[in-house]
């Protein structure tokens, strides 16, 4: 056996791959489902927090800042483990899937809130004053004047952060979520062969490369000179 053959036989073993690709595909499904849930709920919750913060109610803002700083400083894995193993103590037993979703959504929420907030505060005060002077209310000014400008500025950092956090779905393996990495590593230990891991890597590429490229495109499109 040439060393090349040995290499392909180890890492791209056709028999192993044929046997385990349905498992990997299942993992892809779970990862996509998890990612979509995290992105949608994390971004919505982050935007909601930023909007509440714009109301400038002191105690509420302190609470928001505390929550946001907390979830930005804890490693996501720690949050997942705390929710999965800690919540049952409070008689709530979330599945690994739910624990991972909740944890990463909270982390994305925290980062998204900061990004949305930075966008909102970067809009000059004169925009508020002009709109309010024509009789627009606080909410009308926010939705018609401030947010359309603020969201534009947030798209590049938001895209990056979203991609980074979504890749964290791989952490779900720790709490037995059958996402790509989890399926790949159990297939690897069953077959004594790393080929499933290669399939997993390929699956991540297929999933995330288009998102990364789209992110780059969106960044260009919304880069905005003022």
């Amino acid at each position: 056996m040439s060393s090349w053959d040995r290499f392909t036989d180890t890492f791209f073993n056709a028999k192993v791959m044929a046997k385990y690709w349905p498992d990997i595909l299942y993992g892809v499904g779970v990862t996509v489902e998890l990612a979509v849930l995290i992105v949608v709920s994390g971004l919505l919750a982050g935007l909601a927090l930023a909007l509440i913060r714009a109301l400038a109610i002191r105690p509420l803002n302190w609470l928001i800042i505390f929550i946001v700083d907390l979830f930005r400083s804890l490693p996501p894995l720690v949050i997942i483990v705390l929710i999965y193993f800690g919540l049952p103590a409070a008689d709530i037993s979330p599945s690994g899937f739910v624990s991972t979703w909740l944890s990463l959504a909270l982390v994305l929420m925290a980062f998204a809130e900061e990004i949305f907030w930075a966008g909102i505060t970067s809009i000059p005060k004169g925009q508020w004053e002009a709109a309010r002077s024509t009789g627009l209310g606080f909410g009308q000014t926010l939705t018609n004047v401030i947010l359309p400008q603020a969201l534009r500025l947030t798209i590049p950092p938001l895209t990056n952060r979203t991609i980074a956090i979504t890749k964290g779905t791989a952490l779900g393996t720790v709490v037995a979520v059958s996402e790509i990495l989890g399926m790949a590593s159990s297939a690897m230990s069953n077959s004594y062969n790393p080929s499933p891991l290669m399939m997993g890597a390929a699956a991540y590429l297929v999933l995330f490369l288009p998102v990364v490229v789209a992110g780059r495109w969106i960044e260009k499109k919304f880069a905005w000179k003022r």
Binding site: P124, G126, Q127, E129, A130, A131, R132, S133, T134, G135, L136, G137, Q140, N144, V145, P148, Q149, R152, R226
Partner: protein, 243 residues
């Protein structure tokens, strides 16, 4: 009196910026407000439409008590147009979008009505042909005229101008002053903070000199400019005329 402000005080923390200002403006009057930087001119204007909440005093505009808690401030503000030194146009909207926004959201017009009224307002400032341009595609003078159109589209009873030409290159000042003059000729009540002396001289009914949070003196332009009663007024006028 269409505008009546009495005993206006304004504190910013420890800073006492307005120290009991009384200002009455009659319908169709053009009042010019001058004074050194920091004397409280902008703050006074902003108290009139409650962009700033006065610490004490009363403000009535067109019969509405602007400071009463029961007053629908957003409704009342439709009657008071405001133009800012830095234009403050919405950069993500076209000129027409800027003008039509409050017509739709505050005055409750349909999109078609709002566009028609907005276009008419742009026509009045000579910019109907720029309706689809974004602010960044317009010169400073054109931007300020769009900002004027945005305010007058709501058919206000009073217009407030806070240094409307100070941010403009000298060659663009004339176009904005021309719009303000035609507005005056149409009978608009105007309160103008500005250092455009020539404009004040031949368009203003009254010049108000503010110093250190108080109105020090006021009168017809000729009287204030040629024959001020106070030394501080004289010094200030001498100073800006040298520029």
């Amino acid at each position: 009196m269409i505008v009546s402000a009495k005993g206006i005080h304004k504190h910013f923390g420890h800073l006492h910026v307005l120290k009991g200002v009384d200002l009455e403006v009659a319908e169709r009057e053009l009042v010019f407000v001058i004074g050194p930087s920091g004397s409280g001119k902008s703050t006074l204007l902003r108290c009139l439409n409650r962009l700033e909440q006065p610490s004490a005093g009363s403000v009535t505009v067109d019969g509405i008590d602007m400071l009463a808690p029961a007053t629908d401030i957003n409704h009342a503000r439709q009657r008071i147009g405001m133009v800012f030194q830095s234009f403050n146009l919405y950069p993500h909207m076209t000129a027409l979008g800027n003008v039509a926004l409050a017509l739709r959201k505050v005055a409750g017009k349909s999109r078609a009505e709002a566009d028609a009224l907005g276009l008419a307002a742009l026509e009045r400032v000579g910019l109907a042909d720029r309706a689809t341009h974004r602010p960044l595609e317009l010169s400073g003078g054109q931007q300020q005229r769009v900002a004027i159109a945005r305010a007058i589209a709501l058919e206000p009873r009073v217009m407030l101008f806070d240094e409307p030409t100070s941010a403009l290159d000298p060659e663009l000042v004339g176009s904005v002053l021309a719009v303000m003059r035609s507005l005056r000729e149409s009978g608009m009540t105007m309160i103008v903070v500005s250092h455009e002396m020539a404009f004040a001289r031949n368009a203003a009914d009254r010049v108000v000199f503010m110093d250190d949070g108080l109105i020090l003196e006021q009168g017809p332009p000729a009287a204030i400019f040629e024959n001020p009663a106070h030394e501080r007024t004289r010094a200030f006028i001498g100073q800006i005329q040298r520029h």
